[in-house]
């Protein structure tokens, strides 16, 4: 049965396999795969090699892993994949701040299948990894153009680790100047929580700016917080509300005036490609997420890459090694005495470098601007439609255009019906949508939800999405209890207590669960 042409709704039911845990399907003696064994010639030469393990370090009881035949393993994990809703399955404009764009299959196929990527060891002589180094070098040149900053490094294994790396660079910069009194970092409540968490991990005290009545980080509060103790500010723009801060350069100047550095979280850069850059706003450091803006898939939470960019003055602090090109060949440079060292082993996630490189090569400068403008067009179009849904409001900045995402609010729906954002979020699964992103904690906007319909989504995708939200709002007004007990057509039913803090209930492994619950 096709989608209803009038309502744009589907009679959807997600895959539901009632699949056992892998441990519950174990049949003693079954094998999932056989592994290579040492040839007889080897055995004859070395005998039983494991006898050299001292008795107290020998494994005496085999691990209680399940014993499952190969087809059953394949079927099990294929079923679990069917119970998962990736971008390939649904129009995921739900998870805003995450830029859930289409990850082109061509780059995935090359990265996952070419032995020049999959079977390369990171410690091979640099003469034998010239192709990989070429992509590192060229992607660096691309991101320099896109950001205006002078040097890039792709070692961090995600956006949060990129922020940590930038915090380490800020720490090294002040230490190199002999200034050990800068113990504070300033961030904003609508910047990703890693902008608070990562500098704190690097040893900083974190000061968080709350929004003013227009939704901008409070500039006066920041001026009051700035001092000789300020090491840096870690901020994003547009913030998670989708509001672009037009005075961002004043924040940066104020921080520079007290000797602090400014780090730009560009997780929300998708609407800015070719339009606005870190450089023009005056930033010293930035980071992009290659798994968001630059199309590498999100992989259920990674592998990921946080690409960090810095100004010339900070280049000497970047992690080692650095990829260089002398006009003929590419090489790795380790001898950089002021470098912060490493945040991750080897060269980071090389396949993501390939994917980002390929994606930029497929678009060029004009194509990247098309990405940005279409993502902003999509978001503005979606915003107009969502604002028309009963129960929805948008906080802050009335009359101002937002960029590639918007934080919405179900406060009125909750007041009118008792149905809150978590209820609507669960109900979405019944219509074949991914759950939307509410907001990072703490919720400043009440009953929040945040949508980001990036360039990958068609007008029809957006229209269907809006139709579903409208339908759920209608249901909330007509039968709130029904929405509160959703989902009904998903893989599983409502979880009454999704937050688990009691020691006797904590079960993060099957063995812990069986000890506590099945005893």
């Amino acid at each position: 049965m096709p989608r209803d042409k009038h309502t744009l709704l589907r009679k959807f039911h997600q895959a539901r396999w009632d699949e056992d845990m892998i441990f519950e399907m174990s049949v003693p003696g079954e094998r999932g795969v056989l592994v290579p064994r040492a040839e007889n010639g080897i055995r004859a030469e070395v005998g039983d090699s494991t006898s050299v393990i001292p008795d107290q370090l020998r494994r005496k009881t085999p691990p209680a892993l399940p014993e499952v035949n190969q087809l059953r393993v394949v079927r099990h994990f294929t079923r679990l994949s069917q119970e998962t809703m990736g971008v390939d399955v649904t129009a995921d404009m739900s998870m805003a701040t995450c830029t859930m764009k289409y990850s082109p299959k061509v780059q995935e196929h090359v990265a996952a299948r070419h032995p020049g990527m999959t079977e390369v060891h990171p410690l091979q002589d640099e003469g034998t990894i010239q192709g990989i180094l070429e992509m590192y070098y060229k992607l660096e040149q691309f991101l320099k153009e896109i950001s205006g900053l002078d040097y890039f490094c792709f070692q961090p294994g995600g956006g949060a680790q990129a922020i940590f790396t930038n915090a380490c660079i800020v720490r090294a910069y002040h230490a190199a100047r002999g200034d050990n009194n800068r113990t504070e970092i300033i961030t904003t409540i609508f910047s990703h929580p890693a902008n608070a968490g990562a500098p704190a991990t690097a040893g900083y005290k974190v000061i968080t700016l709350m929004p003013d009545e227009n939704g901008y980080p409070d500039l006066e509060a920041m001026r009051a917080a700035l001092s000789q103790r300020t090491a840096g500010i870690f901020i994003t723009n547009p913030e998670d509300t989708g509001i672009y801060n037009p005075r961002i350069d004043e924040y940066v100047s104020a921080a520079h005036a007290v000797g602090a550095l400014c780090s730009y979280d560009q997780a929300n850069a998708n609407g800015l490609l070719g339009i606005a850059r870190a450089k023009e706003s005056g930033f010293d450091l930035c980071h992009f997420n290659l798994h968001k803006t630059f199309s590498a898939p999100h992989g259920c939470m990674g592998p990921a890459t946080g690409a960090i960019g810095v100004s010339k003055e900070l280049a000497k602090f970047l992690p080692v090694p650095q990829v260089k090109f002398d006009g003929k060949s590419y090489s790795l440079h380790y001898n950089r005495p002021e470098s912060i060292g490493r945040v991750r082993s080897f060269l980071g996630n090389a396949p993501l470098i390939l994917k980002a490189y390929a994606w930029i090569m497929q678009h060029g400068a004009e194509g990247l601007r098309e990405v940005a403008t279409c993502s902003v067009l999509n978001s503005n179009y979606l915003e107009k439609k969502v604002r028309e849904i009963p129960g929805v409001a948008v906080w802050y900045a009335p009359g101002k255009r937002r960029l590639e995402q918007v934080r919405y609010c179900w406060e009125k729906l909750k007041a009118d019906t008792g149905v809150g954002t978590e209820d609507v979020k669960r109900r979405m699964a019944d219509y074949g949508l991914q759950h939307y992103w509410t907001s990072h904690h703490p919720w400043v906007v009440p009953e929040p939800f945040t949508l980001e319909p990036c360039e990958s989504y068609s007008k029809d995708d957006i229209d269907e999405y809006v139709a579903i939200l409208r339908q759920i709002a209608r249901e909330a007004y007509e039968d709130p209890e029904f929405v509160k007990n959703a989902p009904y057509n998903s893989t599983i039913h409502k979880i009454p207590a999704p937050s688990i803090n009691e020691p006797e209930r904590i079960a993060v492994t099957w063995r812990q669960y069986t000890k506590k619950r099945l005893k």
Partner: protein, 467 residues
């Protein structure tokens, strides 16, 4: 109206008519009107200097493959490289499952629409729990190096102390990562003290350890098998001394060894950590790493984990599994700078893959692969030492890696490795920079995929080069 003539396959609304219709709906003439909030002086008015695009998919594929073809790889070359990443057997099923579009393109959403993802990740933690014989596993760290760094920070909080002891043979890459994680702003956050090692065996010098451990010691870290390959045979005694002094005992281990070597919990470890890359994940030039940390079921430890942990729970439907967030406020998602440490996107797809691997292998597979590796590694070491001037640096038992010294060949490791490449062989990692006290030594790694013929080829080449 846009002047753009190209309709991009990944940008559906780049179709001019659709774009015009949407702009009309918004009451604006030009898409740039939507950028009214960005002041002119903050806009970029230049044109990015990027190459002309390769628009069609076939040509792009040719282009990217052309670049990758410039690499040599371990399918065409015989590799003896390890040091934290090694070429292991990757079952086809692992690639099949991590290539599923649903897993590949899902992200952070919770519990209903992504139930299958949570079950797969929960099963990965559970399978690792069996391998490690520990109840609590947090499986989504960036790599083994970060798992060590975070374990040390956790131990420091648990013990309420700010000094840690690490082995002198510690993986230098991991040590560099650790230093960034333990550094404070005005003085060290956690002080690292290095335990000397015995140069004939590589083992930790227990007298030196005893002289350095004190009531300030939060943790004693060992690697087992060590970075330099040998098995730290004193592990149990080291753990005993650590615990006697009120310090946590952290063991960084290679999970593929645990079918034959005892998991750290069996010899007293309070933390087991490491990198799950060997479990069914391609090397990808270092892109296949992923870290794990495990402890016993003790709230003193559970409350100190920094990443999200998903607990098995029940739904409203009788007997139906669901998942929930365990102690969410530990994480920076829950409490920002007050969190235990920052968290974020790491390597979940590889964690799912490692789970698939362990499900395929079962207890028998893990035992057999451990045996195979040990047989083959010992065979290779023995055969290499038959080459004139080539000797093992340490005399004790090892797992898949061992240090070979070339001093008596009169050649440097760099020279030997260059010559080996002529035979399409990647020799072991040159240690002369990291451990100059070992002379011209290299770290050789032998996994289950190396055949007798491969080893014999290596030995033949070495005889030609150095013998």
């Amino acid at each position: 109206m846009s002047k753009n003539k190209i309709t991009y396959p990944y940008i559906p609304n780049s179709v001019p008519e659709v774009k015009a219709q949407m702009l009309k709906e918004l009451g604006v003439n030009d898409v740039m009107d939507l950028y009214a909030e960005i002041p002119e002086h903050l806009k970029y008015h230049g044109k990015m200097n990027l190459p002309e695009p390769i628009l069609d998919e076939y040509s792009l594929k040719r282009h990217v493959e052309g670049i990758l073809n410039k690499n040599k790889n371990c399918s065409e070359y015989l590799s003896f490289l390890g040091a934290g990443c090694a070429q292991h057997f990757v079952p086809a099923v692992c690639d099949e499952i991590n290539g599923r579009g649903e897993f590949l393109t899902a992200y952070a959403a919770e519990f209903y629409a992504d139930h299958g993802k949570w079950q797969a990740l929960f099963e990965y933690c559970s399978l690792m729990g069996e391998l490690l014989d520990m109840d609590v596993v947090s499986g989504f760290l960036y790599d083994g190096a970060q798992a060590v760094a975070t374990s040390l920070r956790m131990a420091s909080r648990v013990a309420g102390r700010e000094e840690v002891l690490v082995p002198g043979t510690m993986d230098p890459q991991a040590l560099m990562v650790v230093k960034n994680y333990v550094k404070g702003i005005s003085g060290p956050g956690i002080t690292i003290k290095t335990m000397e090692f015995d140069t004939t065996s590589g083992l930790i010098d227990l007298n030196d350890m005893k002289s350095k451990i004190s009531s300030n010691t939060a943790a004693v870290l060992i690697e087992n098998p060590s970075y330099l390959g040998f098995i730290e045979t004193q592990a149990k005694e080291i753990g005993r001394i650590a615990r006697e002094n009120g310090a946590e005992f952290i063991v960084s281990t290679d999970p593929i060894s645990l079918g034959v070597i005892a998991p750290p919990a069996h010899y007293g470890a309070t933390f087991a950590c490491g990198d799950y890359h060997p479990l069914g994940i391609h090397m990808q030039c270092g892109g296949g790493q992923g870290g794990f940390i495990a402890t016993h079921d003790d709230m003193r430890y559970i409350t100190e984990f920094k990443d999200k942990m998903y607990g098995l729970t029940e739904t409203l439907e009788q007997g139906e599994y669901g998942f929930g967030n365990v102690l969410f406020d530990r994480t920076s998602f829950g409490s920002r700078e007050k969190a235990k440490e920052y968290t974020g996107t790491s390597n979940a797809l590889w964690a799912i893959t490692a789970g698939v691997y362990l499900a395929l292998m079962g207890p028998k597979g893990m035992e057999e692969i451990g045996q195979t590796i040990m047989h083959k590694a010992r065979y290779t070491a023995k055969r290499m030492c038959q080459v004139r001037g080539v000797e093992r640096a340490f005399n004790g038992p090892f797992f898949k890696e061992f240090v070979v010294n070339f001093d008596n060949t009169g050649k440097s490791v760099g020279e030997i490795n260059r010559a080996l490449r002529g035979y399409k062989i990647f020799g072991g990692k040159d240690l002369s920079g990291e451990f100059p006290e070992l002379g011209q030594s290299a770290l050789y790694c032998v996994t289950e995929i190396v055949t007798k013929e491969d080893t014999d080829k290596l030995v033949y080449a070495l005889e030609e080069i150095a013998g």
